[in-house]
């Protein structure tokens, strides 16, 4: 039953090809449009609002629809409806809105509904620091909705990557029928840099895997733990049913422990068994390194500055930048842990992904967390100090 993702090139109507000087939030909207997203439901929240504004501005000329919903709960609910109505869908938010979305992120996971949710992170908890940067929602992206599940999280480090990863997020979302989070942050969201949007025929887009079988035989689910069933859209005569309840292949409620095992293990394994295909990292100087700095998003740029300084003083330091944070490249971390003296993990939070690095390192090497509790990026000196400590 498995069907390979159907790849096509982007619809030129949504692609503003050429070089731009653009911030990350705007680039997210452009990436979504290039990926074929034509339905955006959102609620304004700093520092993500510019994405919604850009989408609203561009919609009328590309045959898309933007709706400002009454809150973030409604926004993600509308995405679920929109996806089953046949569209590629997106919303964007920040911490408080991300919290409100959590229940329906679970519904999207359970109903295997593709969608892209960008979280332009700001300092928390609660209203926190609305205009200042943070990476404090990384674990929320992993565990935020109740129950056991997997989703995918990508973290861009620049406006250019906001554009690129928006497209990748849609492609992964369609391939695995799973919500994909773009966990960016205020700094990248509001930072202007050069963004080059390629010609439409150079942008690869994964189309939805549409069911092509006869009416009356459509099954919205297959619990293989590897790949996902094709989709239909409402109105095509397949009379599908989906529910947030534990369900069978037909989508009908099946409230037994045995069925729950089938469903939940599928939701988890369809991601876990494809980590190698999903996960993307950027490595530099890992071979022969004594210390490896693991970072993601804006922090990785700050970290490189510290690494450059460390290398000048003769230290052998590698860089592992997580572009995909969830699922985590656990095997790579385990393998490195046996070869190096220590990991340094700078994050703009009180230590989140570092917990995962510690778990994978399993005591085989040092793991040093470099915290920055939100509001500002690191001082490269702090990271440098940790690198020196790890190299001892």
């Amino acid at each position: 039953m498995s069907q390979l993702p159907h790849k096509v090139t982007a619809d030129p109507k949504g692609v503003e090809s050429g070089p731009h000087f653009m911030d990350g939030d705007h680039a997210l909207a452009e990436g979504a449009l290039a990926a074929g997203c034509r339905f955006f439901a959102g609620y304004p929240i700093t520092p993500s609002t510019e994405t919604a504004e850009r989408f609203a501005e561009r919609c009328p000329s590309v045959g898309g629809l933007f709706i400002q919903m009454e809150d973030e709960i409604a926004s993600i609910a509308a995405l679920i409806g929109g996806a089953w109505g046949g569209q590629k869908v997106m919303t964007v938010t920040s911490g408080p809105g991300f919290s409100l979305m959590m229940e329906n992120i679970g519904l999207a996971v359970m109903t295997e509904t593709p969608m892209v949710i960008a979280n332009v992170q700001r300092g928390g908890p609660s209203t926190g620091l609305p205009t200042l940067t943070a990476q404090q929602d990384m674990m929320q992206a992993r565990w935020g909705s109740h129950g056991d599940y997997r989703a995918i999280s990508l973290v861009p480090d620049s406006p250019q990557e906001c554009f690129d990863l928006a497209i990748e997020a849609f492609n992964l979302s369609e391939t695995y029928r799973v919500p994909v989070f773009i966990m960016t942050d205020e700094t990248v969201g509001h930072m202007h840099e050069k963004v080059v949007i390629p010609p439409a025929d150079q942008i690869e887009v994964v189309e939805r895997n549409w069911y092509k079988g006869p009416k009356g035989e459509y099954r919205p689910y297959q619990f293989t733990g590897k790949d996902v069933a094709p989709m239909v859209k409402a109105g095509d005569g397949h009379r599908f049913h989906v529910t947030g309840l534990t369900h069978d292949e037909r989508g009908y409620p099946a409230l037994t422990p045995e069925q729950n095992v089938k469903v939940v293990s599928h939701l988890i394994n369809k991601i876990d068994s494809n980590v190698d295909k999903i996960s993307r990292v950027e490595e530099d100087g890992i071979e022969g390194a004594d210390v490896v700095v693991v970072s993601y998003g804006i922090t990785s740029r700050i970290a490189i500055r510290a690494v450059q300084e460390a290398r000048k003083s003769g230290l052998k330091v590698g860089v592992l930048r997580l572009i995909t944070v969830w699922p985590l490249c656990e095997n790579k971390i385990r393998e490195l842990a046996g070869k190096i003296k220590g990991f340094v993990v700078p994050e703009i939070n009180y230590g989140q992904i570092v917990l995962e690095i510690e778990r994978c390192a399993a005591g085989k090497c040092k793991v040093i967390s470099v915290n920055s509790c939100g509001g500002a990026v690191h001082d490269p000196e702090e990271i440098l100090t940790a690198i020196k400590e790890a190299a001892k």
Binding site: E186, M191, E193, K194, R301, R305
Partner: protein, 187 residues
């Protein structure tokens, strides 16, 4: 590498200055530029600032550590940001709005009656473009051609010519002042 801070009060086109320069640098001058700005309550009324990093290689750290250039278009902005300007740096200020204090020899000071020049060019709204022209001339951080290429889309089409004229006015004045400062005539 250049670390530049544009500052003033809301409505002076501070952020626009940084945007134009960043676009000019990264799209037409073949270098890397990263621009950030203050947001929210910080950006309402009062002091407003925008930062631009220019580099021959990819910019890593996106904010100014020690700015080498400060553009101050209000007294508040001067008071707040001048102490952070690096020794020997370049200070550009609107001479009718800012009365500089402190050691006049710590940094190179470039005053300009930008508002008056803008009014002469048709409207005080062009003050920021006068300042940009002046900045381009005295620092050489960005070529005037690239700046002009960057204007469409960032200033209203109907005012494009007037903005260009304002830029030229500032640039020409900057060339004379740059020479003067270099010769030690203006401090």
């Amino acid at each position: 590498m250049w670390e530049i801070k544009f500052s003033g009060f809301g409505g002076q086109g501070i952020v626009r200055c940084a945007l134009i320069t960043g676009k000019a640098i990264s799209l037409y001058d073949g270098k890397y530029a990263t621009m950030t700005q203050s947001f929210g309550p910080e950006a309402r009324g009062g002091a407003c600032q925008s930062q631009l990093i220019i580099s021959d290689s990819r910019v890593l750290y996106p904010y100014c550590t020690v700015p080498g250039v400060l553009i101050a278009l209000s007294q508040e902005a001067f008071d707040k940001y001048e102490p952070g300007l690096g020794d020997g740096g370049v200070l550009i200020y609107e001479e009718e709005l800012v009365k500089p204090s402190g050691d006049p020899n710590r940094v190179k000071r470039y005053p300009i009656p930008a508002t008056r020049f803008a009014e002469e060019a048709g409207n005080r709204l062009f003050t920021n473009l006068v300042v940009l022209g002046f900045f381009s001339a005295v620092t050489g951080a960005c070529s005037p051609d690239a700046m002009k290429k960057a204007l469409p889309g960032l200033v209203p089409d109907r005012f494009l010519k007037k903005n260009m004229a304002a830029f030229d006015k500032g640039y020409e004045y900057g060339v004379t002042q740059h020479d003067a400062v270099a010769a030690g005539a203006v401090q």
